[in-house]
Symmetry: C2
Subunit: 643 residues, 2 copies
């Protein structure tokens, strides 16, 4: 829509104004008409164009009749060479076409275009008509901002977003470029100025920098960038350089979307017009730009296998082995730049400083949420935060998968939960709509204790693996049936126990019936929320036992929990279950291999019995995987309001 501005002219005094190319000036001709005016005529220079409404026939004809709503619409099609070099005048006539007065308008035409990458191709195009609004989807538009959550320095680290100056030129890469293109006379007419401005709320979410205009282009050093708007500076004049020039700005995102912030920020540019001595200027022209701050996406199972594993040295982890619980990897993405981000859990183990100290750095971001007045529980560990592969559910597609978290049972009078601030953060990222499973039935309470995803060549390109006591009992009954009732679980270990003994333990059976109920509840939920069929799910034979805790009975795996595996492409690192041996081979391993190998997966069983299992964790918990970001761009999602 063309931007329109009302202007008043005057028969007693010439009016001067600055016109921005592409806009329209509207002048109510009746307002300044001398008393008794009945008609008017218009004269103007070759650069100036006008239209009169209501239309009055041939514009070359004699005076137009003056009506209460006679409006003059003025446009220009080329920039001025000097201030006030164009002119338009209105002559008013009385009853007998005698002249009653002339209202003269002096015009200066300038071109002003503040440009962003509104078409999301990584290049700041000129004057995109959609730059003032933001729309999701592949046919959407509007620029994207990264949250500058990495650190350009590698010692004495601070998040870049916490520093309100630019320390290294490389930091500009983490910001989105904005270009002010102007064209016009060497100077703006007296009293005019350009200003950039943001609201108080926006100043918590973005900052804008620009190079000093007196710095030489190839000799920029640190202090050559100044903050234009940001914290405590809501508005500032920006230079008009004259002639045809471009001035670069760099927009820095400071906050991820959250419960109280939808991610959209607006930056405004105004041309201020003087109102006479002693009065504030008024904007004669206002440009709003909308940016969307990047949503952070949690790591995602992708086809490509090209992972970097970062070794967490003992001196760094101080004996805290659960790196999976302390952090989760994600990434942030914009058309011009992307980098990984570590999401630090509110969990407070000995590893607590690891993400910040060891991972945060140039192009490796960091984000955390602190629990407010809430107890942090085991459910806040990120072993309790997974992401599904891409799925389509009842026609709705989730190209970046869905986040899966574990919470207390909906009917529980009390129970542990993932901290509200983290849940709010995850829900606010929008692009991976979370699914809340029931995990509080477990002592540790993590979803990765009963489920994982593995790649598959067919169907939905993955399978959901679920721990299944029923499948476990089936293996043990089959062993007994085939004459291996005396084969021992945990062979050679002090815990050794025969298949017959296990099968005759009625208490264990009741416990596992309860556990199967709990897992089946989650199975039904996952089938519904991920659109899965039974054929998309594989039951792994895992028994649990139930411990009497202060707050009620809760379960742990009876032998190393094979579902708590590490998945690296088609290679699976599976906790070694120490099952009963048949012909020298563990029957549980045989069963798991027979279930997974037809999918082209290779199982390696890892003995983590001593270091991890006895401390109630498995392989998965003791490692973490930094995956390739998905080639899918989050802003191409077609999002609509929840209904």
């Amino acid at each position: 829509m063309v931007s329109r501005r009302s202007l008043t002219i005057d028969t007693e005094k010439a009016t001067r104004t600055t016109y921005v190319l592409g806009t329209e000036l509207t002048v109510n001709l009746n307002r300044c008409a001398p008393p008794q005016s009945k008609s008017f005529s218009i004269k103007c220079g070759p650069n100036v164009h006008y239209k009169v409404t209501p239309p009055a026939g041939d514009r070359n004809a004699a005076p137009y009749p003056l009506t209460p709503n006679s409006v003059l619409i003025v446009t220009m099609d080329a920039v001025s060479e000097t201030a006030n070099d164009s002119k338009l005048s209105v002559r008013y006539y009385g009853e007998k076409t005698e002249s009653l007065g002339d209202a003269v308008l002096h015009l200066t035409a300038v071109e002003i275009s503040l440009d962003v990458d509104a078409d999301r191709d990584g290049i700041v195009e000129k004057n995109n008509p959609n730059k003032g609004s933001w729309k999701w989807g592949p046919n959407g538009h509007g620029a994207v901002l990264l949250v500058n959550c990495d650190s350009e320095t590698t010692y004495k680290k601070t998040l870049d977003s916490e520093v309100d100056e630019i320390n290294k030129v490389s930091d500009l890469q983490d910001m989105s470029k904005m270009i002010l293109r102007t064209n016009g006379p060497a100077e703006l007419p007296e009293g005019y100025k350009l200003t950039m401005h943001i609201s108080q709320t926006t100043s918590e979410n973005v900052r804008v920098f620009r190079p000093r205009t007196n710095a030489k282009k190839d000799d920029l050093f640190l202090k050559d960038y100044i903050m234009v708007v940001g914290t405590d500076t809501l508005t500032q004049e920006v230079p008009y350089l004259g002639g045809k020039t471009e001035l670069a700005f760099f927009v820095e995102g400071l906050r991820f979307p959250d419960k109280d912030f939808d991610g959209l920020v607006t930056i405004n540019l105004s041309l201020l017009e003087p109102c006479g001595k002693g009065f504030p200027e008024t904007p004669s022209f206002l440009y709003p730009f909308i940016y969307h701050l990047t949503n952070s996406s949690i790591k995602n199972l992708v086809d490509k296998c090209g992972y970097k594993l970062k070794i967490c040295h003992e001196y760094m982890n101080r004996g805290d082995r659960w790196i999976q619980d302390e952090l989760e990897f994600g990434y942030i993405d914009s058309p011009h730049h992307q980098f990984p981000v570590v999401l630090d859990s509110p969990r407070d183990g000995d590893l607590q400083d690891f993400p910040y100290e060891s991972i945060l750095g140039p192009d490796f971001g960091y984000v955390t949420r602190h629990a407010l007045n809430e107890e942090v529980s085991s459910l806040d560990s990120f072993g309790n935060l997974e992401v599904s592969p891409p799925v389509t559910v009842n026609g709705k597609s989730y190209p970046l998968g869905r986040i899966i978290i574990g919470v207390a049972f909906p009917t529980a009078t009390r129970g542990r939960n993932m901290t509200q601030v983290v849940q709010d953060f995850l829900w606010a990222q929008k692009v991976q709509e979370p699914i809340a499973l029931y995990s509080d039935w477990l002592v540790v309470g993590h979803v990765d204790e009963f489920m994982t995803f593995v790649p598959a060549p067919d169907r939905k390109k993955f399978r959901l693996l679920l721990a299944s006591p029923d499948a476990g009992y089936k293996v043990f009954k089959s062993l007994q049936n085939n004459g291996h009732g005396k084969a021992e679980m945990f062979p050679g270990l002090p815990e050794a126990i025969s298949v017959n003994e296990i099968l005759s333990d009625k208490k264990l059976q009741a416990e596992n019936r309860y556990v199967q109920n709990c897992i089946d509840w989650n199975r039904d939920m996952l089938k519904k929320e991920l659109g899965l069929d039974d054929e998309d799910i594989i039951d792994l034979p895992i028994l649990f036992k139930v411990l009497e805790e202060k707050t009620g009975p809760r379960a742990v795996a009876y032998y190393p929990d094979m579902v708590n595996m590490i998945v690296l492409g088609d290679k699976l690192g599976v906790p070694k279950p120490f099952g009963p041996k048949v012909n020298g081979r563990c029957a549980l391993e045989t069963e798991v291999c027979s279930l997974l190998e037809p999918l082209g997966l290779k199982c390696t069983f890892i003995d983590d019995f001593a270091p991890y299992h006895k401390l109630l964790g498995e392989v998965h918990c003791g490692s973490n995987v930094l995956r390739e970001p998905s080639p899918f761009k989050w802003w191409n999602l077609e999002l609509r309001e929840r209904d």
Copy 2:
């Protein structure tokens, strides 16, 4: 979508379960199959129906082959008369069709339907398929909740939402009814129970009550209602009464949508199944219901004229005349009930207790927002909060109009603003998307100082009236031109001044040029945001003067501000301007009448010079109008995400 539940059966022990009509039980037949099972057959009572997947041809045929994904889907079509009166059994066969074992399932069928007014006609229909989701629009669905923000008592008042019990049966009318319809045996099978539950977050937004089940229906008194879920009670068992019964619940909304709350709340009902001694029950069936809390709509200019005016007695207002500034009237609406609400400003005049003390009562609600760490300014007065008539802008319709507020200029380095909590509240109501105008150029800073709406028979059915110094000067010049230059403004008053003197005051002229600029900025904004043409706007002749305040120059009306009028249908109460008299009649009144009377409006000029004008307020500020709610229902809006 049909609700599905996974169930495990057992060849060693019969399984008992309770089936809810309309759902499906799915049984993985391979899970519990004895080792070496190759096929199976199924027998069941007449009340039980089943399907096998993958399909195995004719169901009356010999045993079905057992595959790893053989799934049995069980349904029933009538409720049980006694517990476990229906039966299904699965027989497994080995290689040579010898029987390997039977898995027996005893079933109790019940009907459970928790019903709400999902089709929004004021009646709780039975089992609406859409009751679990919420959608805006005339083809939308989902129940609506009022915020119980009135007070059933008229002395020792408290907001009903702040009391967690029902004090008067009339209070039930402010809640939304929910009916639990059950049908089945006299008692549920042992260990089963029904529970209602909500999340911690939801408990801040709603409460649910029900009558005690032992109270006689026609003899209910106060303590016969108990809270089922709400603050500190997230889950509670609800009685299963046996046979075919209905139990009424009453859902009470506690909070309006706001920045951090989208208005949607979910209430769940579960049927809990026993898991054996010592284990918690697990839900065998879960019903989520989504409610939308009412959005509050601000008063609206409607065609009908049927207003009640409430007199604000002197002893009550304690000399604070600006009732318009202290409060604004709105209403909340649901299909079964609606009532007006007073929105109390964070302003802290002497009238501050008036809305609560005098207005809050049965079916008259109250809502306020308190400023957090922010200075409350004159812009927080509700003279600075107006609502446009219904408009359609670029195809988007606002059937309840748009909220109009005044704020500081976007480019201002500092300025007064409407408190953020109030702005957030207004924006969160969604249905009347606000427009922010620039009003900080005025000493008082209220939008009602330069604009109002009046009804009109043609075009958009209203006109926007704007204060216009240009229109004012036109009247004075015309007077001078016609020989009335010596006529006096403020005739007979000490302030008397001639038309000639006014027109020769260059300072006043410069001030009014600045004011016209400020109003024109708002004019352009209103044209764009309300989709208005120049023909929809009428300029009223009003001059301003500019005072030098500490924080810069700011304007007040030079003579009583006629645009600050009170509109009662076609009757306008206009502040008497005390303009120059021509033939015994005030020329300003003549001009205003000639502009408004052709629209069928009747102007009465009210002398408020002494009591109001000198204190910088006008008629409008000293009164407030409780208007009829719009017949349009807010939930019929077609809302989509901002883009």
